[in-house]
């Protein structure tokens, strides 16, 4: 090659081609995806919890996607009753699909583990509940008080992890994170694909 113009135009052409195929086209196609009626927008508290989830990098160990049962064991493992679809994510900005399962998938953790007290203690010290866990403790999301004030959410921490004096109280951030986790329920039936809704396929009399 001897011409800069060919280098520049060729380099731009290949990249723009890829941008159109993988960014612009999907953007146009996916913009028509509607939220299923069973999927509710996040509440303010859940959004705060999602923010805490993002801030503390939960995504580096937990995925939020149930994959096709044809070649994975995600459904068999009880992580969901069906593969995830784009409509499950319309309220997610940014996405939290994840690339790693050092810990289990959380797409339906709200259905699988519905107890907020369990989650609070698990976030405070995972090994208090799951001895083999390698999840870090998020004790910085909790306050260590001498006595609980009225309205405080006090954790019932078992022996080796309990403080010698005082009580462990959940902060608003910890409670919001748990609210977000409990909102992760995507086990409603998958919405029918665009154009093949039951109404459209039903024979007209």
């Amino acid at each position: 090659m001897t011409r800069i113009s060919i280098l520049l135009l060729g380099a731009l052409a290949t990249l723009i081609f890829a941008l159109v195929i993988l960014v612009i086209m999907p953007g146009a196609l996916l913009s028509s995806v509607k939220a299923p009626p069973q999927l509710k927008p996040y509440t303010d508290q859940e959004l705060l919890g999602r923010h805490v989830y993002i801030q503390n990098g939960c995504v580096y160990c937990h995925s939020q996607q149930v994959r096709d049962p044809a070649f994975t064991s995600d459904v068999a493992r009880g992580w969901g009753n069906r593969p995830s679809v784009p409509a499950d994510y319309v309220y997610d900005k940014p996405h939290l699909l994840g690339t790693m399962r050092t810990g289990p998938d959380l797409m339906n953790v709200g259905s699988r583990l519905p107890d907020p007290q369990w989650h609070l203690l698990h976030i405070y010290q995972p090994r208090a509940l799951v001895p083999w866990s390698i999840m870090p403790s998020y004790s910085f999301l909790f306050e260590h008080k001498q006595t609980a004030a009225p309205g405080d959410t006090v954790l019932n921490v078992p022996k080796p992890y309990a403080p010698t004096t005082g009580v462990i109280v959940a902060t608003d951030e910890a409670k919001a994170l748990v609210a977000y986790l409990l909102a992760l329920k995507h086990d409603y039936p998958a919405p029918a694909e665009e154009g093949v809704t039951p109404a459209a396929t039903a024979p007209t009399p």
Partner: protein, 504 residues
């Protein structure tokens, strides 16, 4: 001024033919160009300041990224290690490590490498060196700001795109645009007709990285489209930035050090345009099985398989260039690192193609296999190439040889051995983890326990690699600080003198 003999070895000085060759233009075969030592030194002086500042900042980042990586690694073995403070939690330290290594260490060192290579390849002094220097500094301010915010809990939440889009990212865009402007201005002022392979790779990388970085960081995507853009960016940051600059570096230094031209111009062309076309479409293989339209994932799997064409073309081209001259590895530390990097590029690419196949991906997706794979790429290929480049370039800019051959050997052995342990054990551990996860009769605990011993060997490897980095940084500091000591005449690996060029 002590110059590593490879410059002059290519064409022993004093011969009439050298002078003739020096004057000859390069319209046909760039490898026939004979830049003499004086001209090379003059060109090197034009880029000296930004290149040295970039390397200094990069080596600092290497140490900082190493500390973050070590902390993250030990947190797998001791989950309560440093867990009391939010900024030390795994989910902040780990992206801190990635961003420090990709944008701090590798990218800054790559700015320097490109600013050093481009004037030599264009046979003209670097244009706008002040702009390039400013670009490097602004980029680094952006990365420092972004990582401090990340540790403080301000993140965009997307892997590879964590740095804050309001503060850090605009600085980084300005920085890379300024370095790119200097590169392209130099290219426009070139004194050679023919564009050598390295020029294609280096020059194209700057518009590529600027475009994908802007496209990836726009805060306009939601839901699965956000995932598609995330991995479009993540994969292209590797393919159209980290890979391309370092392939350009290998293409430049490999023939230069062994003293013979690149094996095939046509293979270089196939390698370059094949990579540009196929690599840019690979991203969705990070989402195999995920909630994406299946045509997108199929496109990326197809493009991933097609990557075998440019990868094999580059592999053959570089192997045939060095084949028969492997003896030169014993005398040139730069060549040793670069050859290992070139081989790792082939290895990591073939491994990546294999991982994109659904039959393999169903096991390895979501496991530590991916981490081992990315370290084979970003470390064994990219970082090794950059080490090689720094070993070659720094003495020429400072005018002194590396003080100690033993320190270079220690560096190579520590990081080489550490990385082999890292990739082999963690990659294997990832497969074991994946097999347990694929078997629904096994509890999730089994997949955690399957990975744990290999996470521990990874931490051991991390200690070796960290020691190697300390040796390297200390050695670079010694090289700079030995200002007033007598200039050493011989290169560090002087005990063997291979015949590099046979003159027929």
């Amino acid at each position: 001024m002590a110059i590593n003999p490879s410059d002059s070895k290519v064409s022993p000085p004093g011969k009439k033919t050298v002078e003739a060759a020096t004057r000859r233009d390069s319209t046909i075969d760039h490898s026939q160009v004979r830049i003499n030592v004086a001209e090379a030194a003059r060109i090197d002086r034009s880029s000296r300041l930004p290149v040295l500042v970039g390397f200094a900042l990069a080596i600092l980042w290497l140490l900082e990224g190493t500390i973050l990586g070590d902390i993250a690694s030990f947190k797998f073995d001791f989950p309560d290690f440093l867990s009391g403070q939010a900024y030390l939690t795994f989910g902040r330290i780990r992206p801190g490590h990635l961003n420090a290594m990709i944008y701090g260490w590798a990218s800054t060192a790559m700015f320097s490498v490109s600013l050093w290579m481009m004037p030599r390849l264009c046979r003209t002094p670097l244009r706008w060196p002040g702009v390039a220097l400013g670009g490097i500094i602004i980029w680094n301010i952006g990365v420092y700001l972004g990582i401090i915010l990340l540790l403080a809990g301000v993140t965009d939440g997307l892997e590879w795109l964590e740095l804050d889009h309001r503060t850090a990212d605009p600085l980084m865009v300005i920085g890379v645009a300024m370095v790119g402007a200097s590169i392209w201005r130099t290219l426009a002022a070139r004194n050679v007709e023919h564009l050598y392979v390295s020029v294609w790779y280096v020059a194209a990388s700057y518009p590529w990285v600027a475009l994908i970085f802007i496209a990836g960081n726009l805060p306009i995507y939601t839901g699965v489209e956000s995932a598609a853009v995330n991995w479009f960016y993540g994969h292209n940051a590797l393919g159209l930035w980290l890979t391309t600059i370092n392939l350009g570096l290998i293409y430049y230094l490999l023939p230069k050090i062994v003293g013979r031209p690149i094996y095939s111009y046509w293979l270089s062309l196939i390698g370059f345009w094949g990579l540009a076309l196929f690599y840019s479409l690979n991203g969705m293989h990070h989402l195999i099985g995920g909630p994406m339209p299946s045509w997108m994932i199929a496109t990326s799997i197809t493009a991933s398989i097609l990557m075998v064409i440019p990868v094999v073309a580059v592999g053959i081209n570089q192997h045939m260039t060095i084949a028969g001259r492997f003896g030169a590895l014993r005398y040139s530390p730069a060549l040793t690192f670069l050859v290992l990097a070139a081989m790792s590029y082939t290895a990591v690419s073939l491994q990546g193609i294999m991982t994109a196949l659904v039959s393999v991906n169903r096991i390895t997706h979501f496991t530590h296999w991916t981490i081992a794979h990315s370290h084979l790429g970003v470390y064994m290929f990219v970082t090794m190439a950059l080490f090689g480049g720094i070993y070659y370039i720094l003495p020429r800019l400072i005018g002194r040889e590396w003080p100690s051959a033993n320190l270079i050997r220690a560096h190579f052995l520590l990081v080489g051995l550490g990385m082999v342990i890292y990739v082999v054990t963690l990659g294997g551990g990832g497969v074991l983890q994946g097999l347990q996860m694929l078997d629904p009769s096994q509890s999730f605990e089994a997949s955690v326990n399957a990975a744990r011993p290999w996470l521990l060997t990874r931490s051991f490897a991390a200690v070796l690699i960290s020691a190697g980095h300390v040796v390297f940084a200390a050695h670079a500091l010694m090289l700079v600080l030995r200002g007033r000591s007598p200039v050493r005449e011989e290169p560090p690996f002087f005990f063997i003198r291979p015949v590099l060029v046979k003159h027929e």
